[in-house]
Subunit: 374 residues, 2 copies
């Protein structure tokens, strides 16, 4: 059985175990160096594999790429915004950006038709990425279902360098569709290293911890594809490449605790949501409050269990001092949940109103980029 | 375990069993109607699935296609010539021709590099097809590894409509590479029905009996892809298509008996072979002769066990009366093996000399068709 796999995981909170058992490295040593970036500074990005290669390329101004995939399966919410912020940060720091819309995966694993997937990828994801600050200049954005043949070839070649046992150990019970889906993800991740994009280069993939099985598999297959095949009478590797690097971020919780999910509107705030409706969700979110006001004044609140605090931490308050003040006032019982939720609701409304102003022109840019393809 | 599968079969002689167990139909009822074609008239093409659809399209002058694949794994020999003759016959009878060079399969299943496969497909297969009479006008010839994305999409969609158990029942032990290879063949066969080629149409695939597992699988997947998915909220089929038809031919034996094989030069005559060397192979071929001349004069020879007779039957003697005369003279002990082999060697030399004259211009046409791709 798989320890955890990206299609069934509900919640992963034991990040320490992931690091010790699966060989992720801690991101601690980069925290200070990249302290301009909220997710890195605050330990939300908590782990990595081979990030040194990326930090080095950044420092020396050498070419490197950032690759990510999106699963077009529903509304674009605050959890997705985190990934968008990471993409944009890497773009601002010199990465060439590759984004894959995983419409074959959503078809095979989630029964979502291609037309619907295309619409969601364009209207929800790409439009929001652009509204959040992604520059389309130099951006590579593609759908799994319509891309170039080298990419498919790469995937097929990969199939020769992996066994059933390896796949089963990672993904649990297999089906033909699942194997195709998995191999496609491997090709997605190696895609920026195709000859037409300049060949081998460092590539960073920012993912949630649940995606680590894909990363490990891809790194293994990449090493094998990059080996020469003198035993098979072939001096050149099947596909010259560098095993991809990854950063791992924690998950935002849903507004009611538990998992934030596209398919459960109560669990998330969508970026296209009416600000008043979003404010109402904030007002009924799970907090770290006590049973009574008296108790809370006496014992203090528990910000580490509070969804409002998570919204600040991940998205709404970039100033550490300001955030720290709220944290301590809550802990000391000075800031109560009612007031705190009101403050948060105002910030959410303000954010959404400003964001949504940018949507029309972002949508235009998204359509222009995808052209006749959508 | 698989009853037989296309990668491990050595010899299939019990054609009756194939028909009764796997539901092939006998070709008998078409034998007379298509008696201008040696392989049909002589029962070398012995079985079919849904050939009625093809016969009907031919009779009414309606569009239909013939699809075949080639495995670029060695010299083009007399066994391959049989397939070439079938392709050409269908082309002369109104079929649009689709030929797939299975370079991904040869890579995954036989460790043949892409550059080598490309060279063999072009220099051995396509060149010989053209020299034998295939017209390049309107011909669709492609490599698995470099074709259009709809084709790969089709393959991936197919992966959702088949289970591991089905694949295992047909192909025995699976591997990721084998699954990719199998799904690619399914897409190859459905390829002529892609929208860009005019959508659904009758397609005939002339194959050896060993390829029937692919045909059965493809027909099953085609039926499922052609069903609507109202249960999945989708009124249109995933891929509108008609399950492909097939004809089944017997195998020529190798010159020493047993299997004719590309990798065993003693077993075959290559079409590019020096005619004198070919003549020598004929002179040492297995015949249906007796131990001594005396015995043979008394008992007669056994043409049904004779490789020389097979060469006549499949390739060298188109006139049934002439063939019948040889058959009976052998049976009656009048025609002895020495003389018979000499006659056959002359026919082989003549055929090869004439064929090889056409190779230079055929090679030119092949290169022109594949263009910069080879």
């Amino acid at each position: 059985m798989a320890d955890f796999d990206p299609w069934t995981v509900k919640e992963i909170k034991d990040y320490g175990k992931l690091m010790s058992e699966f060989g992720m490295e801690s991101f601690d040593k980069y925290q200070e160096r990249f302290d301009s970036f909220r997710y890195m500074r605050r330990g939300i990005i908590f782990g990595h594999r081979d990030f040194g290669r990326i930090a080095d390329a950044m420092a020396k101004g050498k070419p490197y790429a950032m690759m990510t995939g999106l699963m077009p399966s529903g509304a674009f919410h605050m959890g997705h915004k985190m990934v968008a912020d990471e993409i944009i940060w890497f773009q601002e720091h010199g990465a060439e950006i590759f984004i894959c819309a995983a419409d074959m995966e959503s078809y095979l694993m989630r029964d979502i038709g291609f037309a619907q997937a295309r619409k969601i990828a364009l209207e929800e994801y790409l439009t929001n990425y652009i509204a959040l600050g992604l520059k389309v200049k130099g951006l590579h954005f593609w759908f799994q279902s319509d891309y170039i043949s080298e990419y498919y070839k790469l995937r097929d070649i990969g199939s020769k360098r992996v066994t059933f046992n390896e796949l089963e150990a990672i993904y649990g019970e297999l089906s033909p569709g699942k194997i195709v889906s998995v191999l496609t993800q491997v090709a997605d991740i190696l895609h920026p290293q195709l000859e037409r994009f300049g060949g081998p280069k460092p590539v960073v993939v920012p993912v949630g911890a649940d995606q680590d099985p894909h990363i490990r598999l891809t790194r293994d297959i990449a090493s094998r594809l990059n080996a020469d095949r003198k035993d098979e009478g072939q001096a050149e590797p099947d596909f010259p490449c560098i095993p991809p690097s990854a950063t791992y971020h924690k998950f935002m919780s849903g507004l009611q605790g538990g998992k934030m999910s596209s398919s459960d509107p109560k669990s998330h705030i969508a970026l296209s949501e009416d600000p008043e409706s979003a404010a109402k969700k904030v007002m009924s979110a799970k907090t770290g409050g006590r049973n009574t006001v008296e108790e809370q004044k006496k014992l203090g609140g528990e910000p580490d269990k509070c969804m409002i605090y998570e919204l600040y931490l991940y998205h709404l308050i970039d100033d550490d001092l300001e955030l720290s003040k709220i944290y301590h006032e809550c802990k000391e019982g000075k800031l109560l949940c009612g007031q705190d939720k009101k403050n948060c609701a105002e910030l959410v409304k303000k954010f959404l109103a400003e964001h949504q102003k940018k949507m029309a022109s972002a949508r235009k840019a998204a359509h222009k980029l995808i052209g006749g393809k959508a």
